[in-house]
């Protein structure tokens, strides 16, 4: 305690000044209260002085409350008879003057003492754990998490909003820095997940509603109507071939080619069953056609299919909702809307992929000819503090841009390749070596400078940029301009966050319970984070985090019972008037009303009394404030306890 806190708080004086407070039997200071020595000191003090309450003046209770509760328990005290005065984060670390810091620490200690006097022994309840996990998102993050949980022997359901699992990784051509074929390393995982006896995959499905709490979540999943019977379809593809409506932009190919109204997003899709895009289908739009139903050899087409709602119980939920990229239309200076040859990096992936719209032949979209020069623009929307951009670094763009540049040079050495950048950030195993190879071996020209605008000139494009090193403005010719658009969380991240009461930051990335020590858990118990939904990361990091999230979920599922928070609401039945103002403000439906026999002013009467379901109550305390008679109170944060703290501070 002394080393950290003692710089601006005289801890000996804090101990000295609280010693004279009535009921304080023992006060001392110790260097590291959370250490084994500190805890031993605490146990001995309880024994020697017959202590019935403990106040620890130390770091934040968010850090070590559990430690001291355990120590109290070991000393034979109820763990809830401990209070922490936060004299580190809330005092020593934010105040520079020792006199001021010491005075505040004494005040905080006095408040904690005032509160702890009123603490009552509490016992945590138990609630059972449903041994099944729900993974939201069927990209590489979700698949890896699901596979790891399933391998540990627990049932897992994956829900994926698009018609196939695979996510963004399925769209990529090669992966950096090893240049593995992305689909080649992903599809075996997709097949493993689909074939695993413990995994159930719901594609074309979304989360409709979630209730419950850790160990006992109840989720309603909306399985959108596929209009094709999954169990009968053989995946022959005849329907897609014959479908006359072929004008829809292919989502998988980033709109670089069209698809039919009845479609399988890509060749290796799982399930290999088409879905009818009802917006595009003539049968649904004009009640014409119906060709697919006529020709399907399996009779699998079902126009009358409706959305199906499935309700399931889960012990743990893993968010693996992944990412999308920022809309380049926001950045008008690059002319994405006006020039066909200004494309995004994801479009470039499809354009160079052997299974893509050009069978991997790199061509200009405007005329189908091979480009002579390509300019890559990094940080489009990343590290941009203006309203239209994102202030963070998207982390993967430097490396995939280097990958694109290198691959172009490898296949077409005659194409001139320039990369405009703010900084080149390549930390990672083999990353810097890779980027340097692109420059030194392949002759990719890296220019430090921002691109101001892209204009059309003489049939090609002109990239107007600054060259920071030369201190000049330059105009680079380009047949193709590739924009490294910022990584942004999936558009439903916020909706899911409020559905699950999982925290989310201002950029819509899910917040972890602790940025250093609990990086794969949401602050909401039982919700875990996997992949880019928590922050930008590349594939190996995503897989590592997915595994970590799985382990956390397995740790939870392996328990038969969980201890519940005993700091829940309770009713004083003699003063409750049965007005049920409490019931209206409870977000969990934890308050019900029953007719009960009660003693009221010496008379026995039968009347309506509020009742708290302690398994449902999460302990927010909204009811205790709404209650006009003060009959509803919150254990651990009672009216009297908080009032005592107020009195002690003021």
């Amino acid at each position: 305690m002394r080393k950290h806190i003692a710089a601006t708080v005289d801890v000996a004086r804090v101990a000295e000044s609280v010693r004279s407070i009535p009921d304080v039997a023992f006060a001392t200071d110790y260097r590291y209260m959370c250490s084994e020595g500190g805890q031993t000191l605490l146990r001995q003090a309880v024994k020697e002085h017959g202590l019935s309450r403990i106040v620890v003046c130390a770091c934040s209770p968010r850090m070590h409350e559990a430690t001291f509760r355990k120590a109290a328990k070991a000393a034979g005290l109820n763990p809830y008879l401990v209070e922490i005065a936060n004299i580190r984060e809330h005092c020593s670390w934010v105040h520079k003057d020792k006199e001021v810091g010491t005075a505040k620490a004494i005040a905080l200690a006095k408040a904690a003492i005032a509160k702890v006097r009123l603490n009552t022994p509490l016992t945590a309840g138990e609630s059972p754990v449903v041994k099944r996990a729900l993974v939201i998102g069927g990209g590489i993050a979700g698949l890896q998490t699901a596979l790891d949980i399933a391998e540990a022997g627990y049932k897992v359901d994956i829900i994926e909003k698009s018609p196939s699992i695979g996510g963004k990784m399925a769209q990529l051509d090669k992966t950096f820095p090893t240049l593995d074929c992305s689909a080649c390393i992903l599809t075996p995982k997709m097949v493993d997940a689909a074939a695993h006896e413990n995994i159930t995959i719901h594609t074309y499905s979304e989360l409709e509603k979630v209730s419950g709490y850790v160990g006992q979540f109840e989720a309603v999943i909306r399985k959108k109507a596929r209009s094709v019977a999954v169990d009968r379809c053989s995946g022959c593809g005849l329907c897609m071939e014959k479908c006359p409506s072929k004008k829809a932009a292919s989502e998988f190919d980033e709109g670089l080619r069209t698809r039919s109204a009845i479609y399988i997003p890509f060749a290796q899709a799982i399930p290999n069953v088409p879905v009818i895009d009802r917006e595009q289908c003539l049968k649904f739009q004009a009640d014409k056609c119906g060709l697919c139903a006529k020709i399907c050899p399996a009779g699998a087409i079902e126009y009358g299919q409706e959305d199906e709602l499935i309700t399931n119980k889960y012990g743990a939920i893993v968010l693996a909702t992944g990412f999308t990229t920022i809309d380049p239309v926001r950045f008008g200076e690059f002319g994405y809307l006006h020039h066909k040859d200004v494309i995004t990096s994801l479009e470039f992936e499809r354009l160079t992929n052997a299974a893509g719209p050009t069978q991997g032949k790199l061509v200009k979209l405007s005329d189908g000819k091979k480009p002579k020069s390509i300019v890559f623009v990094s940080c489009v929307g990343s590290r941009d503090t203006t309203e239209r951009g994102k202030s963070y670094c998207s982390k993967i763009c430097c490396m995939y841009t280097a990958k694109h540049a290198l691959l172009v040079k490898e296949k077409y050495p005659d194409i001139a390749v320039k990369v405009f950048y703010i900084d080149v950030r390549t930390p990672g195993k083999g990353f810097d070596e890779f980027q340097r190879r692109a420059v030194e071996e392949y002759g990719v020209e890296y220019i430090k400078g921002m691109v101001g605008k892209v204009t059309e000139e003489g049939g090609g494009l002109a990239v107007h940029a600054s060259d920071v090193a030369a201190g000049t403005k330059i105009v680079a010719e380009a047949d193709l301009v590739v924009l490294a658009t910022a990584v942004t969380p999936s558009s439903d991240a916020r909706k899911l966050a409020s559905m699950l009461s999982a925290s989310i930051d201002t950029d819509d990335f899910y917040t972890e319970a602790h940025p250093k020590l609990r990086p794969v858990e949401s602050p909401t118990a039982g919700i875990f984070l996997s992949g880019v939904c928590q922050g930008p990361k590349d594939i190996p990091e995503t897989v590592a985090q997915a595994g970590a999230a799985a382990v956390k979920a397995i740790g939870l599922l392996s328990k038969d019972k969980l201890l519940t928070n005993p700091c829940v609401a309770h009713v004083n039945e003699t003063t409750c008037s049965g007005c049920l103002a409490c019931e209206k403000v409870c977000p969990y439906g934890a308050i019900t009303a029953d007719y009960k026999q009660v003693n009221s002013k010496g008379l026995k009467e039968r009347r309506l009394i509020a009742h708290v379901n302690e398994a449902l109550c999460q302990g927010c305390g909204a009811c205790s404030v709404a209650c006009p008679s003060g009959a509803m109170d919150l254990r651990g944060f009672s009216n009297k306890q908080i009032m005592a703290e107020v009195d002690a501070l003021c």
């Binding site: 934040s60 209770p61 968010r62 850090m63 936060n86 580190r88 984060e89 809330h90 005092c91 020593s92 670390w93 934010v94 105040h95 520079k96 003057d97 001021v100 810091g101 005075a103 505040k104 005040a107 905080l108 408040a111 966050a497 409020s498 009461s501 925290s503 989310i504 930051d505 917040t511 602050p523 909401t524 700091c567 403000v585 977000p587 999460q618 302990g619 927010c620 305390g621 909204a622 205790s624 404030v625 709404a626 919150l634 944060f637 009216n639 908080i642 009032m643 703290e645 107020v646 009195d647 501070l649 003021c650």
Partner: protein
């Protein structure tokens, strides 16, 4: 803590009580500490599970006991750990501010702020600003009830 205030006009040190919700603002205050973002020591924090746990009577009690300012900090609207708690806080405190105005207390002595667990800087800024406001307003003489002491 009246002695602490030493209320000579120039070096008036206000007494400020901050109710912080456990999930966002208390953690935000922790982060302010970890990041060593300083703010006036006049601010003393009471932890509550949710900003909606703050009963208006706690605030009135603080003013009666001589607090010069009370601030309630909770999760941003839409981000409440308990889904809807901070909406209740917002409505209740709006009403209480009206009541304080009616009583002749400057309603700037009561403030509601949203500080997330990631906003350590904002926590320090908000507390510095609030302490400045209260210092400028001077002592709470209207509600302070000496019989409480």
């Amino acid at each position: 803590m009246l002695a602490e205030k030493q209320s000579t006009e120039q070096n008036f040190e206000p007494l400020i009580v901050a109710f912080c919700c456990n999930w966002c603002s208390y953690a935000g205050a922790d982060l302010a500490g970890t990041a060593r973002r300083s703010y006036p020591a006049n601010v003393k924090i009471i932890k509550v599970p949710c900003s909606c746990r703050v009963n208006p009577t706690f605030i009135l009690r603080a003013f009666l006991r001589g607090a010069d300012g009370v601030i309630i900090a909770g999760c941003h609207p839409g981000d409440c750990h308990y889904t809807t708690g901070n909406y209740f806080t917002r409505r209740r405190m709006t009403l209480l501010m009206g009541l304080l105005g009616y009583l002749g207390v400057d309603k700037a002595r009561l403030r509601v702020e949203w500080v997330s667990a990631a906003e350590g800087n904002k926590f320090a800024e908000v507390m510095t600003d609030f302490a400045g406001t209260i210092k400028a307003l001077g002592e709470n003489v209207k509600l302070r009830d000496l019989r409480c002491k």
